[in-house]
Symmetry: none
Subunit: 125 residues, 2 copies
DNA sequence: TCCGCGCCTCCCCATCAGGCTAGTTCCCGA
DNA sequence: TCGGGAACTAGCCTGATGGGGAGGCGCGGA
């Protein structure tokens, strides 16, 4: 295995919260395989703030692990049948979880549910 | 004020290049003070690809005015019947527009369509 | 030990979604 | 003047959706 390719990833930090930016900079500074971009340098990857969404969820909706699984599949447009297949459960059970999700997210249907979840930051698209 | 211990920063990795994403995940996995977000979890910070951002914009899907009307109502979870009522058109016409939307957004269903539209910035939730 | 909860399964059933074909107006540009 | 596209309407049909009820199993706390 001659992994001579030094796979150093150049990371730019694009975060307005300077306290957070500094903390991340120092945390990442010591990681081998990662190099922080100098100002203006072209980076392969950027760290951007997701604060808007994070702050936007004062009411942490409590979902069971299974409900989260179902939710992300729903957000990909999966039907109950598709959810059932991918989760290895029956269509009936998938419907059951979707039903609980509609309850907890106060949604009228699956489309409404993923829109609510996205708006509240429970998931991001 | 018992505390100001630096809280753990939750980082989401939003990179389509799975090799790069995996490398970053393993590099960051061992860093104290950083935790990787579980799929769908709201994170404080996200790692995004710099190229991907540029490619994300010029993706202007051309929708007719009517299709936009229908799309925003769909994003609110409206049924075909509700869309028809609010737009003053028949359910058939509503379904017609939804159908074109599914085509143009390359979606399998209305939930998928809303998710795609949101991801591509055609609408925002 | 019993209860509650998460998770799972199954049933019925009314409604909705979406794909199909086919028709109407209106308006713009060749 | 003749397309052609947008917007609208319509019927038909199959499968998906989601609300209801009724259970079973395992685990952790009272």
């Amino acid at each position: 295995m001659s992994e001579e390719v030094a796979p150093v990833v150049v990371v730019a930090i694009e975060i307005s919260d300077s306290a957070l930016a500094d903390r991340l900079a120092s945390l990442l500074g010591g990681v081998t395989g990662i190099r922080l971009a100098t100002p203006g340098e072209a980076a392969a990857v950027a760290l951007v703030s997701r604060e808007a969404q994070a702050v936007l969820q004062p009411d942490d909706i409590e979902l069971t692990p299974r409900e989260r699984d179902v939710l992300v599949l729903m957000a990909e447009g999966a039907s109950n049948k598709a959810i059932a297949r991918q989760l290895g459960i029956s269509v009936h059970t998938a419907k059951f979880h979707v039903g609980s999700l509609l309850d907890k997210l106060d949604a009228t249907g699956r489309t409404d549910a993923v829109a609510h979840a996205a708006r509240r930051g429970v998931i991001h698209l």
